[in-house]
Amino acid sequence: MRPVATTRSATGMPTARLAVWWLIASEVVIFGGLLASYIMHRLAHDAWSVQAAYTNTWIGAFNTLVLLTSSLTAVLGHKAADEGDGERAAKMLGFTMLGGVTFLVVKAFEWTIEIQHGFTITSNTFWSFYYSAAGLHALHVLAGVVVMGIVAASARKNEELHRVELIGLYWHFVDIVWIFLFPLLYIAK
């Protein structure tokens, strides 16, 4: 049973959405710290561009496309949930999950090739940053997919529809992190 506390809204904003924004704030500083460190090092080491040249822009671009599209389906799910159409919302979340899984599979494929070519996390500090940043992001994608599965399952039954928006917010944030990782790791060479 839920405490009364959860039903109050002194700010006029649903508590859960408020909490997701605070969660995002705490994630912004985590990724911010990591990326700031990477940028400093990258600018300090011209020699790293040799390493960066080996990352595959096309795979990165494809994954960006996948994530952008999954954000679209996430927000369409939100719209459907707002209109009370749980079925459609669940379907849209399903597409988003599909996007997330595609992203991870492509990532796994990409990393396998790179590791086979000898670019491991320890081979050079550029690659250390590459795997750490992308890996942390991939963990977020994975977590998002899992939680989204739970949300979609209840949305299908027209329950807890407000959660569709919440997981969407998180998903868009993960998308934005990738929007920055893509140029940082793939384009700048």
Binding site: A36, A47, S49, L72, F173, I179, P183, A188
Partner: protein
């Protein structure tokens, strides 16, 4: 509950714009001018992120303090960068130097800026 209702814009259109921006950011480097690359890569990343925040995350429709919060986080990160960069981003400074970094820089300069 005083739940504000979100206005839903045409998401597919926004998505299409995002994809076009993506294409630009991938093709930008092909021109081969450094500042164009930087602009198409990072300028466009900022635009894309902004579009997602505004259109998909509906930051405008939330209470005012949410954008303030996010901006504060970003400002703190810039502060962090500004305080740390003088030590980490440079190979030498007032009365100190990192000999191995200087060496690596000299090496890289010898090999030329664009080794490929």
């Amino acid at each position: 509950m005083s739940e504000e209702h979100t206005h839903h814009p045409n998401y597919v259109k926004i998505w299409a714009i995002l994809v076009v921006l993506l294409v630009i950011s991938v093709t930008g480097p092909m021109i081969g001018i450094k500042w164009v690359t930087l602009f198409t890569a990072f300028g466009i990343a900022i635009v894309k992120a902004y579009m997602v925040v505004v259109n998909f995350m509906h930051i405008g429709a939330t209470r005012r303090f949410v954008p303030y919060l996010v901006v504060t986080c970003l400002l703190f990160m810039f502060l962090f960068f500004a305080g740390v960069a003088p030590d980490v981003m440079k190979a030498d400074g007032e009365n100190w130097s990192k000999p191995s970094w200087l060496e690596a820089q000299a090496q890289a300069a010898l090999e030329g800026d664009h080794p490929h």
